[in-house]
Symmetry: C2
């Protein structure tokens, strides 16, 4: 098998878009979520993010990165005005609509309307969920930090509400996100379903792993 090697110098020489494609695929499969927000004047916004990650279970926190000069800047404006937001798993039925939210729409156009996804309000939660998503969360922003390393904003948000199909959880283990048809993204534009290989037991020194 032939192996390619790129060092920092050859990476820096790549055309900008090529480097973006390549470097965006280096972390592996990325989560694919839609962030739903609302401005203080009631305009809704929906944007795709592939940077949402698990930060901790107790308290239940999520982290994500916003690039203020590019895409979800309306998201950032909205959560600064009104600290609530939703995260909605992209599933295989709504890949095209979800990807389309990455187009640059003016703030007065809601991506919900433009991309044909439905706003859903659950309980008295003040941010819009995506009706077509089967796994969704309502969150509140806890903090934001400017990362001086590349002028991005690192947002931490606390999970307040979780919704998921009852048959995707056995009340003890992880959610069955394969059954929920959650997708992942690689690079900037490639979407994948998951195919379960196995679930493994808790690892201990000198003990053989078993499948659960």
């Amino acid at each position: 098998m032939q192996i390619s090697h790129l060092d920092l110098e050859s990476l820096d020489k790549l055309e900008k878009r090529t480097r973006a494609h390549l470097v965006n695929s280096l972390s592996g499969f990325k989560s694919a979520n839609l962030v739903g927000t609302k401005s203080k004047t009631g305009e809704t916004n929906l944007s795709i993010i592939s940077s949402a990650f698990h930060l901790g279970a107790d308290p239940a926190l999520m982290g994500f990165i916003i690039r203020p000069d590019i895409s979800p800047r309306h998201t950032l404006e909205n959560i600064r005005e009104n600290s609530y937001l939703t995260l909605n798993h992209i599933n295989s039925n709504i890949v095209d609509q979800a990807h389309q939210t990455s187009a640059r729409y003016p703030r007065e156009i809601s991506e919900f309307t433009a991309c044909e996804l439905q706003e859903e309000y659950l309980g008295d939660f003040p941010a819009p969920y995506v009706r077509e998503a089967s796994i969704k969360m309502g969150l509140q922003m806890v903090s934001e930090r400017l990362l001086v390393e590349n002028n991005t904003i690192f947002v931490i948000a606390k999970i307040l509400h979780i919704y998921f199909p009852k048959d995707c959880w056995d009340e003890s283990g992880p959610l069955d996100i394969v059954k929920a048809k959650t997708v992942s993204v690689s690079g900037l534009d490639t979407y994948h379903e998951g195919l379960k290989i196995k679930r493994l037991s808790y690892a201990k020194q000198d003990q053989k792993l078993s499948e659960i």
Copy 2:
């Protein structure tokens, strides 16, 4: 379809391990990488992380979270001593060995030996790569921040070297991480292959998406 709803109060009431399984699966599919490091006295360490994420392409930066009280604390000690580290995609051939690195080994035992993965040194890079991984990177730590929200450490590292199978890249788009058999993880212990759905064109307002 029956929908389950958990609010913060019901989430807080869950047994600790159950909550960890559930909340860890909420972000969606997570990247699955092995971090290779070496202490200043030459002891190597290898640990699995599911929190590595793309932070930016220019400069090429990766972020990840370390929980200093639990698992990859030797990783953190090593990169504080010697700022270099490697990130190695877990592929479907080495899922068991990779998962086993999450057991608590004393610092003098290398997970490379204990978990039957081979150290590989490429060029003069001072941290060990995983020979069995087909996509791997050499990085240098740029910064670390304590996140007071949950006492975790957020590490930013700069990509210095990238290695991948030549037939996984067309020199313009993303790496074909499906061909490379890269896996993802959901929750704490469930591993998945990716099944490509489609690659979509750059999204623009008032322009129909097409498959690439």
